[in-house]
Amino acid sequence: MGSDEPETQPRQAIHDSTAPSTDTRDSRIGEGVDDRFNSKLREAFGASPFILTKFDEFMNWVRGNSMFMLQFGIACCSIEMIHTYAIKHDVDRYGAGVPRASPRQADVMIVPGTIVSKFGPRMKRVYDQMPEPKFVVGMGSCTISGGPFQEGYNVVKGAEEIIPIDIHVPGCPPRPEALIYGILKLQERIQNGESSPVVVKPYELEEFGDLPEDELVQKLADEIDEDDLVMRYNWADSP
């Protein structure tokens, strides 16, 4: 996290174009505390009053040492993830805890597998249900690019098309050791108050009625209600 790396502000607005966004990647390199941490207090008290900074640091330390994981199994990588939780690798040693079955009790979501079109909206929903601040570890090449299934007609080319990801752990599947390394890196980042900014991704959940009219929307107009949530995949724009 050197200071000589380019600084980019996190984007909070919906993109005009549906082209894939690289903002997350760029801004992840940005430094310092961002607004997912105590932004209300920060607003009230100004930039960095002494006591608040210390309290911030304390909070971050607490957060980093008690990360509640979401129990979230998708594909092959989840088997290695279970091995990471289980005997021998025992990720609990790092305060990373027994997995929580409910997203409302979880801080960290490990995305262990291939995201396909049908699951994308569900994953987004689960992510939205987690309380702030929340963090995501992308496990395996599938969450990076679609991995071995990158060319599939039904495969989302990386989980980052849908939700922001803090740490990528490459591998197919990554060994439990690698995942632990990733979790430790995340811990480090949380303790330093860093996180990837919330960027609106190319694939958003939107109300059907809000979509621009095109051939596809017209075709489906009879089947889908105006206010149903939909996710639109523009495969041609995918990386």
């Binding site: 199994g73 021998k88 909206p121 299934f149 149903d228 939909v230 996710m231 639109r232």
Partner: protein, 554 residues
């Protein structure tokens, strides 16, 4: 070799010769079509039910193992791969062509219940329509999908819309129907008991389940498309590891290896077959351990003891497999015509490590029996719940421990021998309890049988003469099986019959690559097992089916 009950119904069926088949089908056969594995008969799209019905009732072909759909330049084709539960090597294929303009063919669902999902998949991916089908809608892809991805005019770059609307809040008022007072409940797709991303739509009347509809496709990773894009020689082999990913990798690889080796006439050296057999059985143990651990987790929330114990044992197996193959899960160790390399050096160490594991296994199995299967709570939850009668199991094309737990004595390792199994001494485990408990016991006993097999393989490998350790046959750099040759071959994977259909189009890539997944058929029987039972039994039944979504959805 069986230890359990022999199957009684249809037991008197004898081998049917090809001439008899021809006579049985008679005029309804438009032409003959030779498949490498079985005689094929081309029939009219409106005579499917009558032909399949006759084959089932009069010739004893009671196992519809797979339905393959594909598109040719001038027609669509559905192939029904039939087998017998009594004799798995007795096969016949029924080929049903339809025109491209009007791809309608009669559904086989009234004859074989299992055709329901298979035909839905064919409709979804290829676009053939089945008249008379009870519920022809998409199964793997979202309802709102446009086009059929395995048909040749599909444009992958077109945008698609997926809705979230089906996933309504189960607590909303409108889910209570005023008259019957039932409640609609979504289980999954993100739920700890579904073993992955399965969505079960359930309708409850009080605590009793009145309707169950598994909704799959949340992990449909286009495995068939991936395999159709890869070359036979090397590019396909990594994918099978990812079908049934709970460390059954080698078993899956064997399915592909067996199909392509039979298609391209490759003779695998005996030494490699022994290594394959050993590796495959190690995988079976790892897979059954996971099944047991997660099952215990499901039925009595056992995260601390059993679950961790089974994972401890899996770690040991994975270490052995890692030494052998170089990876913990995605082995990519089989090659067309053999295996990638010989046992790791020093061999003695490998033997010792594996034998240590086998020596400790009986004590561990005893421990599991102590803690799990003889546990009273466990028994209350499992005995007489999720009952699957043998006839129903057959109708749904169930295989593997699910079928054997219902007393169906069907194991391809014995019935359609491959590898080195023929020369080894082991038993097929069957149980006639038909319930969740029987299925779990079946798996536990299979672990012991697998250990027996591994032991014998180790003996053989240890004594194998050093100058005869050939691990790979001589296979040409580019494999191009004869154009038009077709084959369906299956192996006994951890979950049941894992079959591969390959049609060669004369290039170095398959023209059609179809995967018959055991979990897909087994899961289809879920409604039969759970309707009328209590909702907690749904969780137990799902656990004892031991599905892997990667394989259900492919």
């Amino acid at each position: 070799m069986s230890t359990g009950l022999e199957e009684t119904s249809d037991a008197e069926t004898v081998d049917v010769t090809e001439a008899e088949l021809e006579a049985l089908i008679g005029d309804r056969a438009l032409a003959r079509d030779e498949h490498e594995n079985a005689p094929g008969f081309v029939v009219n799209p409106d005579e499917v039910q009558s032909v399949l019905g006759d084959l089932k009732d009069e010739a004893g072909y009671d196992h519809l193992s797979c339905v393959t759909a594909q598109q040719y330049e001038d027609r669509y084709e559905s192939i029904y791969h039939l087998k017998k539960y009594d004799d798995a090597s007795d096969e016949v294929s029924i080929v049903v062509p339809t025109t491209r303009d009007d791809p309608v063919s009669e559904s086989a669902e009234p004859v074989f219940r299992t055709a329901d999902w298979h035909e839905r998949e064919a409709y979804d991916l290829v676009g053939i329509e089945y008249a008379d089908h009870p519920d022809l809608r998409r199964i793997l892809l979202p309802e709102t999908w446009q086009g059929h991805p395995l048909s040749d005019d599909y444009d992958q770059d077109k945008p698609q819309l997926v809705t979230l609307a089906e996933h309504e809040n189960p607590l909303a008022d409108d889910h209570h129907d005023a008259e019957s007072d039932t409640m609609f409940l979504n289980v999954g797709p993100h739920h700890p008991a579904t073993h992955g991303v399965l969505h079960v739509k359930t309708v409850l009347d009080g605590e009793t389940i009145v309707d169950v509809d598994p909704d799959i496709g949340y992990l449909h990773r286009c495995e068939e498309q991936m395999c159709q894009q890869g070359t036979y020689r090397h590019q396909i082999m990594p994918y099978p590891d990812r079908w049934d990913y709970v460390s059954s990798g080698l078993l899956n690889e064997w399915a592909y290896a067996r199909a392509i080796e039979d298609l391209a006439d490759i003779e695998v050296p005996e030494y490699a077959q022994v290594i394959r057999t050993m590796g495959a059985e190690l995988c079976r143990i790892a897979s059954h351990m996971l099944a047991l651990g997660t099952f215990a987790l499901d039925v009595y929330g056992e995260f601390t003891a059993i679950f961790q114990y089974t994972f401890r044992d899996r770690e040991v197996v994975q270490d052995i497999l890692e030494d052998l193959t170089g990876q913990r899960m995605m082995f990519n160790y089989f090659r067309v015509g053999g295996v990638a390399w010989d046992l790791p050096e020093p061999r003695e160490e490998f033997f010792e490590q594996t034998r240590d594991f086998l020596d400790e296994l009986p004590a561990k199995v005893a421990e599991y029996n102590d803690m799990v299967t003889s546990n009273e709570i466990f028994q209350t939850r499992c005995i007489d719940t999720g009952v699957l009668e043998p006839d129903v199991a057959k109708d749904y094309g169930c295989t593997g421990p699910v079928a054997r737990g219902s007393g169906v004595d069907y194991d391809l390792r014995r019935d359609d021998p491959y590898g080195y199994y023929e020369h080894l001494d082991w038993d097929v485990v069957t149980r006639d309890g038909c319930d969740n408990y029987a299925r779990v016991l079946c798996r536990m006993e299979e672990v012991e049988e697998s250990a027996k097999i591994i032991e014998q393989c180790l003996d053989l490998l240890e004594e194998w003469p050093e100058d005869d350790r050939e691990v790979q046959a001589n296979v040409p750099r580019t494999l191009k099986p004869d154009a038009g040759s077709e084959i369906y071959r299956a192996v006994e994977a951890a979950k049941g019959e894992l079959g591969i259909y390959i049609r060669s189009d004369g290039t170095d890539k398959p023209g059609r690559f179809k995967i018959r997944s055991p979990c897909f058929s087994n899961l289809q029987a879920l409604p039969e097992m759970t309707e009328g039972e209590y909702i907690p039994d749904l969780v137990a039944s799902l656990g004892s089916l031991d599905i892997v979504l990667g394989e259900v959805d492919r």
